[in-house]
């Protein structure tokens, strides 16, 4: 009897906290299960800088959907570098919708899994991009290194911060914007290659996503200039102090079209096809467009946005990926595939 008591004492030492944990978790799960039937869940797998945008948009959509159908919709978010996020969906992350940084990543999901049909980009207006953006420079306040245009980035002694084009969609836009600029200015592919090679020699650290790069530049104080999404640059300036940073708009940049689509396979499996489609369509609605502009994305229907928000966007000449590189498939194969130009020019 004594032995059993000892054993009991020994195990009660471990069991007490465990029991407490499991009760805690069990009650927690129980309360959320109760109202499961009239709640629909949607998983939106997105890229790095859209956190604030979708936080507000999800609330707006949930309200709209409740009013329209009486159904409560809970939107779950996952953020990260666009390439990494696409990889996760390929590996089985059950996204109902993907809202990524560039079309190639969605193409890749479709090709590798068959979850998205090949013509996905024609299912919604504007190449399935409800908002666009571009690449700008973020510099320290007062622009101490006098950075005005792309040429200044390759000057002696300038350090440039950009994420890794292998994992980040934003970084691929950065890279292609620089390439397009140099080719236009110096007139040949060789000159552009030379320019981008010199540019990446100035990069001390390659983060895996846009948000990581912004933190490197803003929080850790590394680098003279950050190549950033326009929305990310605005956010950094407004969130972390207008007295610390300036936005510099180069003479020419690239028209970034971050596309959205339903992942048919998972939406069908989860029975969420209709709400997923409506969710994405709502991005194009007046409410959606207003939220989009508020978070520094350029709306495709500027007439719905607050004019005050629209005034913040600087005028800049934008090159499209189709005219400069013949589309994402070609651009990816030439530059970012294994053994492509980026692999050839970049050595840490």
């Amino acid at each position: 009897m004594k032995a059993t008591r000892n054993v009991f004492r020994l195990f009660s030492l471990f069991a007490a906290p465990l029991l407490a944990f499991s009760t805690l978790t069990a009650t927690g799960c129980g309360s959320s299960d109760a109202s499961e039937s009239d709640v629909v869940k949607l998983l939106n797998v997105s890229y790095d800088p859209t956190r604030e945008l979708y936080k507000e948009f999800n609330e707006a959509f949930a309200e709209y959907w409740k009013k329209k159908t009486g159904q409560t919709v809970q939107i779950e978010m996952s953020h990260g570098g666009a390439g990494k996020q696409a990889r996760a969906v390929v590996d089985g992350l059950p996204a109902d919708v993907v809202t990524l940084a560039l079309a190639y990543d969605i193409d890749a999901i479709g090709e590798k899994t068959g979850y998205i049909p090949a013509d996905w980009q024609s299912r919604l207006p504007n190449n399935s991009s409800p908002y666009t953006s571009t690449i700008v420079f973020l510099v320290r306040k007062g622009n101490p290194k006098n950075i005005r245009d792309w040429d200044d980035l390759v000057r002696e002694g300038i350090t440039v911060v950009t994420p890794n084009p292998k994992t980040s969609g934003g970084a691929r836009w950065n890279y292609l914007a620089a390439w397009a600029y140099a080719r236009e200015k110096y007139g040949s592919e060789e000159a552009a290659r030379d320019f981008v090679t010199r540019l990446f020699r100035q990069v001390p650290v390659l983060d895996s996503g846009a948000r990581g790069s912004t933190n490197t530049f803003v929080q850790r104080g590394i680098g003279d200039v950050l190549l950033a999404w326009e929305n990310e640059a605005f956010l950094a300036v407004n969130e972390l102090g207008p007295d610390k940073f300036d936005i510099i708009v180069p003479s020419v940049s690239i028209l970034a079209e971050p596309p959205v689509t339903v992942v048919d396979h998972w939406a069908k499996t989860h029975g969420t096809t209709e709400v997923a489609q409506e969710y994405l369509k709502y991005l194009y609605s007046p409410v959606g467009q207003r939220v989009v502009a508020k978070h520094y994305y350029r709306p495709v229907h500027p007439e719905h946005a607050d004019p005050a928000d629209m005034k913040r966007f600087p005028q800049v000449r934008l090159i499209t990926i189709d005219e400069a590189f013949g589309g994402w498939q070609k651009a990816h194969a030439a530059h970012f595939a294994d053994g492509g130009t980026f692999d050839q020019i970049y050595s840490p």
């Binding site: 499991s22 978790t25 998983l43 953020h79 996760a88 089985g92």
Partner: protein, 294 residues
Amino acid sequence: MAGTITLRKSAAGTPVRLATGESTAVRWLLIGISLTFLTLFLFLPLAAVFVEAFRKGVGAYLQSFNDPAAYAAIRLTLLVTAIALPLNLVFGLAASWAIGKFEFRGKQLLITLIDLPFAVSPVISGLIYVLLYGIHGWFGPWLAERGIQVIFAVPGIVLATIFVTFPFIAREVIPLMQEQGTEEEQAAITLGASGWQTFFRVTLPNVKWAVLYGVILCNARAMGEFGAVSVVSGHIRGKTNTMPLHVEILYNEYNFVAAFAVASLLALLALVTLVLKSLIEWRTRVQHDQEEPS
């Protein structure tokens, strides 16, 4: 008996300076270096976590926990730990019992295998589960047909945590069991005890402090694991983010107070772990000293 007592007396009576032969300056220098190092690399970062967490006052600190996503992250961390810890306890005891008390071929191999998670980078620990249970992995299609989601869901996080933490308990208990040998167990069996009786009445009481020590270390690591969990999590806010992942997310959203507030919880856990660990070491020493005279 008398001999031991004289020895102890002389050891206590002799000044340490003469015994080691080092000058005072050298001793102070060594202490100084260690303290500077500890302050710079351990104490300051830990203090920084709390300073940042309370930067905007206690109200803002507490407000950070009034967020469903933070609550979900804490709950998930506790759930994962509550599953991983008992399993590793059973595994650790079984493995150390086998290794400590029995002779068999391949024993060294088993010990090496138990150490594997220490040697493997946590990222790899996560990736192997993606390769096995990911939708295109070895078992992925079979699981998917049955609607079972392992990777990017709670089961994957549990698997990765178990993998990373399973050496902790076994590693603490094996050396002690080996050192204790099998005499007491043999005596118990000779007196007619069954296998279970021997285990619960003889073996387990002998190693209970080592087991507890292992459990505490295992618990700390299970709650704090980042790398392996990050790979299999999918980072769904409020659903598959554990506390360490939630800290990263908050930091990336420029929500520094909340990020450090959650981090301070993890730091507190580390401090509690340290206190418990010292307590157990002290208990073991007391027990050891009590046993010695007899």
